[in-house]
Structures are given as C-alpha cells and as structure tokens.
Symmetry: C2
Subunit: 293 residues, 2 copies
C-alpha cells in the first residue's frame, strides 16, 4: 500500500472486521445495547483515528497486530462521544452520516447506555494492546483517559457547551478545538509510540504532529460548514452560522482561516519529514486540508 | 478498627480525602464539569464498594495503600451510573441522597458530560493501582470493564429499562439484579485479590461472596421501598409499587423475599468463614440484611 486511498480502505476493513469480533451480537437480556453499539460502530465514518494509529505504528516500526485493539478503542471512544453529542440535551441532531442518530433509532435512554457501554468496553479492548514493554500499559491507559476525559475531549465539549451562551475569545476557541477534536487525534499517534516503547523525543514529536492535525481537521470542519454539500457531508451545512456559533470562520473570517489551515498543513508535513517521513501520512494531511466532506 | 462503624467511617474518610486529590477543583474552561463531578462524588453515600475493597484487601493481606485508587475507581463508576440513571430519559429522579440530582443542579447536558468524565477518569485512576505482579494490570482493567459495561452493570440497566414495558420473569429479574447492582460489588471484592496476585480458588471464592452480597443488597433495597423512611432514604419510597415495577416483592411476595434475604445472609457468612473469616465483613453482611436506609 503506497497510496492513501488503498490505505484508508485497508484501515477501515481492519477495524470493522475486528469490531465484529470485539462487539458481537448478543442474545441475552441486554441484546438491545449491543444492537445500538453496533449500529453506531458500523454507521460508516472515515476511521481517521484508526488510520492515524496504523500510520504511527508504521513510523514506530510496530506491527499493526500489536495496536489493532487500540485502533478499535479510540474509534469506540470517538463513536460514544458522537452518540452523546447528538442527544436532545446536547446538539440535538437527527442525522449522523446520513442515518438517524442513535436516540432517534433506539430512544434516548438506550442511546445514553450505548454510549456508556462503548466507553466502558473501549478500556477492556485497550487492555488487550500488545506492548513491547508490559510496564507501559499503565501509561497507555492513563494517556487514553487524559485525552478523552475532562482533561481532553470532554473538556472541549464542556467549553463548547458554555460557548453557546457567550462569545468565546481566541484563547477559549483554541482550548475547545485542541480538546474536543485534537486530543483523540493526538492520542491516536502517541499510543503506538508508547506500545512500541519509543524514547520521549519521538513521542513528543508524534504528539506535536497529532495536535496540528487535530487543529487542521477542526478548521477545515468549520470551513465545510460554509461550503459543504449536504449529500457528501451526510449532515446539514450552514448550521454553525444559523446558530450564531463561534467558529474559526466567525472569529478570523474565511480568508484568514484558509491561510491558517494552509500554514498548519505545511508545518505538519515538515514535522513528519523530521521523524523520517511517511508518504501516506503526508498525503493524509493534504487530504484533510483539501477535503470536501 | 474492630467494629463495622469505625471501619465505615475510616473507609469513607479515606476515599473522600483521596477524591479531593484525584478530582481537584479546576479553573480552566472546563471547570463546570469538575464542579459537577465533585458535587456527585461528595454527595454522601455509604461508600459500600470502597469498604468492600478494603475488607477484601484485608483478607488478601494487601495494604490499603495498594488499592486505594481502585476503591476510588469503583465509587466513581457507581457515581457516574447514578448521575446517568437519574436523567429525565432514564429514571427521571429529582432527588438523590436528599439533594437535587446532577441534572437538576447543572442541567442535562452537563450531567451527561459529568457522568462521561467520571467514567473516563475512573480508568485513569484504576491504572494507578499498585499490583504485586505488574502483569495483572491488564486483567484488572478487563475485570472492571466487564463488571461495569454491557456484560455487567450496563447490561442490568438495559434489561431493567426493558422490564418497564413488560413483566420480567424470575430469570430476567435475576439477570437484572446480578448485573445492575451485583457486578460492581463482586468487582470490589475481586480486584484486591488480583492486585494481591492471589491464586484462582481464592479469587473465585471472593467472587461468590460478592455475588451473594450484591443480591442481598438488591433484595433489601426492594424491601426498603415498602417500608423505608423518606428522611432516612433520601429518596421517595413506594416508587416501585406506584410504577408497577417488577421487583423481588412483586414477584415473590414480601415474606418469601425476606426469607431469601435471610438465607443469602447466612450462606454468605459461611463463605466468609471458609476463606478464614473476617469479622467486619460478617458484620457488614448483617448490616445490609438489617438496614433501614
């Protein structure tokens, strides 16, 4: 695989095949929650986080076999956060990736429980990661928790929630984006380096690449809300502007936001070259920069 | 400490002091979620699960220092489940331990996020458990996840949710209670044995004691709904009967339920004697059997 799109297909198939084993159908009294978990897990998505985990493993000279369960874990955490984010009390979304959201399909109570179940299972799955040095497992659990909880993704969601009632400034918007989207992406690149027992310099380098990639992802996401296509996006664009939400666009304007995205893209590609280069990851950065969905 | 009530006070103080360090106040943009987490963590409660963890550590000859973070972890998981259980889409409760529930105090969105944050943090805290044999950590993460997720507590919540619309039979009620309440209690006793690197027999024995204790706890909880006192309970009794919910009482009648509770109490005390005995744990079993709140 030396082009991005074959690699994306490979990563998708690999995590989806593994999901089918990790989160099987179940016929006991709790079967409904497994249905709901599987519904959201198999609802599509680009599997960007697993893809990043595999690419990081390549950079760290680690077999994908070692970190496949981490790749699944991080996608499960991403998926649970989408289920809870879509709830009426949160973003109140009816559609996700062109399909009814979990609470529209299974009811609110089941959607809450499906999210809780995915988050809990994600740590069981994570405990199966094969570390070169067993002592690193505690560090891996800690890192995933920090990146996804109230010091990471959840912190971003909380700040985002507050931002709906007052205008956040640049510092607050940076906090939201760094945490809400950035930390899971950062985590996707960092964990393979921990599992591969790499030295601190290289881990920090991958973390920096992850942070930039997350920010780039967020800025382009805001830009898609201006000029995205409902069919390609699988959700309604223009929602941010309509709800008067603070985004990169509302804060910096479209032109400046596009420049910021460009600079981030270039800087990140340099950082990748610094750690020895990885053509697919560089292509991915270009893809995120240029994406139309 | 050779009486139950001093031990309960000791366990409460120990976990609450540790919570204050583990989940500190926070003044960044996500400070609200820390407020909500701490509100529920410090809302009282008997800390039965941490207490069981300490008692199991005593039986396993393990210092409390080794498993204090597990004791906090299991109470955090219990607390998150209460926050989500109380939500309007779930049990829709306004009061918990005599205080407004999380969503009444902080709003629904924040309550969802506070639950998510507690669950995520619980695994970071768990990763700090000090195992005699480091290789046991993966097993500990797995056990906690199995007991609290869709094969454990969440499975019980899902089955309980379904039971609201149709009458569960004995088998289904047993499933609900085994999982909804029982698995966290079982886990509280099992993890110290894993951290202490005990042999399988002893672990199985503690698991059996945990299962019985959980069931006893549930039957007495159902009984309290008949004759509990609103002031002592901190919640409204009679709710089960009013909502025509299937409980041990509705399925077996009050007399048979009291007999089942008695038999379980006796059986569990025998099992405790089998593993060498522990007076405080035996007193606790009596206390659960006799409790009025």
């Amino acid at each position: 695989m030396n082009d991005l799109f074959s690699y994306i297909e490979y990563a998708k198939k690999k995590v989806e095949d593994r999901f089918d084993i990790l989160i099987p159908e179940n016929d006991d009294y709790a079967s409904d929650v497994f249905k709901a978990m599987r519904y959201s897990l198999f609802a599509g998505g680009k599997r960007i986080r697993p893809l990043l985990a595999f690419l990081s493993a390549d950079i760290c000279d680690l077999d994908h076999y070692n970190i496949i369960d981490f790749a699944c874990c991080i996608e499960m955490i991403h998926t649970y956060s989408l289920i809870h984010d879509d709830l009426p009390a949160m973003d109140d979304d009816d559609l996700r990736r062109g399909k009814p959201t979990s609470h529209k399909k299974f009811g609110e109570a089941m959607a809450i429980l499906a999210g809780d179940a995915l988050l809990t299972e994600s740590f069981r799955v994570l405990s199966q990661v094969r570390c070169k040095n067993e002592a690193r497992l505690a560090e891996i659990i800690r890192e995933v928790s920090l990146c996804s909880g109230p010091y990471g993704m959840v912190a971003g969601q909380v700040a985002d929630l507050n931002a709906e009632t007052r205008r956040p400034d640049e510092k607050e918007l940076a906090f939201i984006h760094k945490n809400k989207t950035g930390r899971l992406i950062e985590c996707s690149l960092v964990i393979p380096a921990l599992a591969g027992d790499l030295e601190k310099d290289k881990i920090d380098n991958l973390r920096e690449i992850g942070r930039n990639t997350g920010l780039l992802f967020q800025i382009t996401d805001d830009l898609l809300d201006i000029d995205g296509d409902v069919k390609k996006l699988g959700k309604t664009p223009g929602k941010d502007a309509k709800s008067d939400k603070t985004t990169y666009i509302s804060l910096y304007g479209e032109k400046k936001s596009r420049e910021m995205a460009y600079d981030l893209k270039e800087k990140t590609k340099c950082l990748i070259k610094d750690i020895g280069g990885n053509l697919i990851l560089e292509q991915l950065i270009d893809f995120i920069y240029e994406r139309d969905h």
